[in-house]
């Protein structure tokens, strides 16, 4: 059985195979990644490590995060790479960027849904102030080639059930008289602030709006449908679905997510916004079945365990723009993504 690290290596090799040309602008670059120790950040480092090891990219990365040193210790194969530099710090108090920085990925944000409930003000502060600090510091750079702001598919507001996929121009708005809105609102504010900075200082900025993802390194403690389902299945517990399971999402595999993000950084034209995610809808019941089939005996799937007031929602991006302008494709179908993720979690 292959180790977790070997599995990830195979994934990164697979996603890069025949596609490194798309990322060529990043060869020799100095990339500054904020929040580089989360799910996305880890995968970005995995891809860049592979680009350097196998494709002579010689890309240098500075990872800026509150948990940077801890991360470097936990992930030795990344932490030990000499072209990766780990910088401990809080994005709210960032004052300056390394002068040689030519690419930035701003991915630092509080994304834990539990925190949205318990400490929503911190979410607003970190996500909003973080963007302000970063953009100010970026304005002092000598030769900034691109800055990528990682936003969120939630900035669109609710997707009407009759709309199959939402494109970059969609907006249904959302109410702001509710603490739950803080995450989406903070992301939307970060986008507005970024566009204001672009207007004023002509920063070469690209925005991505990620939707939903699955894969290794994703914490199963997060109370999202897919992580809940996998966690419960691994524990041999039944999967519980609040409604009838008609809520629709789409899930993209981690290696594709990281590759698309790097492609947006390397190839996205300034002032453009790109949806990032899978355009293939899946309802929760089908997703649960996709997961339980990997277990024997298959865990039970319980529906309608919630109150009747449970809402059916839909969130599926249209990613034609990213495909066309960035030249990216989905390489890992959902069934395979689920199988890989479960396998990774089963590997000790």
């Amino acid at each position: 059985m292959k180790s977790r690290q070997e599995q990830v290596s195979l994934d990164t090799e697979a996603v890069l195979s025949g596609r490194t040309d798309l990322l060529q602008p990043l060869a020799g670059a100095n990339i500054f990644i904020t929040g580089g120790t989360g799910f996305l950040g880890t995968w970005l480092l995995e891809l860049i490590a592979m680009l350097n090891a196998k494709h002579k990219f010689n890309t240098h990365v500075t990872v800026f995060s509150r948990s940077a040193p801890d991360f470097a210790r936990r992930h030795k194969h990344l932490g030990a790479r000499k072209e990766f530099h780990f910088l401990e710090g809080d994005i709210r108090y960032l004052t300056e960027l390394p002068h040689e920085t030519d690419y930035i990925i701003h991915a630092a944000a509080l994304t834990d849904r539990r925190l949205f409930a318990s400490n929503p003000t911190a979410v607003g502060e970190v996500n909003g102030m973080g963007a302000i600090r970063l953009l100010r510091a970026a304005n002092l750079l000598e030769d900034l080639k691109k800055i990528l702001l990682v936003s969120s598919g939630l900035v669109y507001g609710a997707q009407p059930l009759n709309v199959e996929r939402i494109g970059e121009n969609f907006s249904s708005g959302f109410a702001c008289d509710n603490a739950n809105a803080i995450y989406a609102e903070s992301k939307r504010f970060a986008e507005s602030f970024a566009m204001a900075a672009v207007s004023e200082a002509k920063l070469p900025l690209v925005i991505t709006r990620p939707f939903a993802f699955v894969g290794p390194y994703q914490s199963l403690e997060l109370p999202w449908a897919v992580t809940d389902f996998i966690r419960d299945s691994l524990a041999g517990r039944p999967i519980k679905i609040m409604g009838e399971g008609k809520t629709v999402r789409s899930l993209m595999y981690a290696s594709d997510y990281a590759f698309w993000t790097l492609a947006a950084l390397a190839r996205g034209e300034a002032r453009n916004v790109f949806n990032l995610g899978s355009p293939e809808p899946v309802d929760l019941l089908a997703l649960a079945r996709m997961i339980t089939q990997h277990f024997s005996p298959a865990p039970e799937i319980l529906t309608k365990v919630g109150q009747s007031g449970h809402e059916t929602t839909r969130l599926v991006p249209c990613v034609d723009k990213a495909r066309k302008e960035l030249g990216v494709e989905l390489t890992v179908p959902l069934a395979e993504a689920i199988q890989k993720t479960i396998h990774w979690h089963r590997t000790a």
Binding site: Y93, T95, E96, R136, N139, L140, E142, D143, E200, K202
Partner: protein, 306 residues
């Protein structure tokens, strides 16, 4: 010499880095309004005492330093100048307030040491005035002097942009004062090219019978003098006559201390401000008073100014 910096924006912060590098200067206070501004946080990280009480902070701790760099705004400096004077502090004004004597170190450093408040004119002025002055010393019958600066669009913030007209007038006055030619004109171009262009300044003059050789010698000499305090100052087109005009062109590459290297326009005015402050420090060291002797042994009495 112990100094304070008032104004913690990009200019003030870049100035701070330059003060910290200087063997002659020591920053005893970095004062502004916002403790969480990037400049203030940087100063704090560097161990420099900070105050968010702006001019009041300066007044409260005025005994800790002898000279203040004012990197706020012209409007604020008009208010501050009086206070500095009352407190017996030397003032180096980087705003376009024009209260003190215009100071261009390569040209009039000595005279400026006698002033309690000096004004650093403008970025284009610091680049072009020495050249205009050199041309004036080498030629007679100068009818007209013009200076054109091109700067990276990104080095011009909102305040610079809204005050473009004042910049032009200040620079024209500076050129007139130092070249003794009343008829002057200043032009400013902002270039948005990426990667950013370095600041370039051209001085053009209309002269009845120009002495090109003498002008070349004078310009070469003053360029060397400027390079002593602005390391990135380069002569890129030595004096030449084209289309009945004398033309000289220089480029200023910034040191990249806090501001990026392309912002040579901001670097040169800060370098000039450091030059005058260091000259004060050297002068003071050369003529030690009782108080200074104690000061130079690192223990500064709190009330040495009686």
């Amino acid at each position: 010499m112990k100094v304070a910096i008032l104004g913690t924006g990009n200019i003030g912060t870049d100035l701070l880095i330059k003060v910290l590098r200087s063997p002659w200067l020591e920053c005893r206070l970095f004062a502004g309004r916002n403790l969480s501004s990037p400049g203030m946080m940087k100063a704090d990280q560097l161990g420099v005492p900070v105050s968010s009480k702006s001019i009041q902070g300066i007044a409260e701790r005025h005994a800790d330093f002898d000279l203040v760099f004012d990197a706020t705004s012209a409007e604020d400096h008009r208010r501050h100048a009086k206070i500095f004077s009352e407190l017996g502090l030397l003032a180096v004004d980087l705003t376009p307030a024009k209260i003190g004597k215009m100071c261009v170190p390569a040209v009039n450093l000595e005279e400026c040491l006698r002033e309690e408040n000096v004004n650093m004119v403008s970025c284009g002025g610091q680049a072009s005035i020495p050249i205009a002055h050199a041309i004036a010393t080498a030629n007679k019958d100068i009818e007209y002097v013009e200076t054109v600066s091109s700067i990276a669009a990104r080095s011009a913030g909102p305040a610079t942009r809204i005050n473009l007209d004042e910049y032009l007038c200040t620079t024209e006055q500076g050129i007139a004062a130092f070249s003794h030619c009343a008829n002057t004109k200043a032009i400013l171009n902002l270039n948005p090219a990426q990667p950013c262009v370095h600041m370039q300044t051209t001085v053009l003059a209309k002269i009845k019978s120009p002495d090109l050789e003498k002008t070349r010698v004078a310009v070469a000499a003053i360029v060397l003098k400027i390079q002593e305090y602005v390391p990135g100052y380069q002569l890129i087109v030595p004096p030449m006559i084209e289309n009945n005009r004398l033309a000289v062109m220089v480029r200023v590459e910034g040191r990249g201390d806090y501001l990026p290297k392309y912002a040579g326009n901001l670097d040169i005015i800060n370098c000039a401000a450091i030059a005058i402050a260091e000259a004060h420090a050297k002068k003071k060291a050369a003529q030690p008073t009782a108080a200074n002797r104690i000061a130079s042994s690192h223990e500064k009495p709190t009330h040495h100014r009686h």
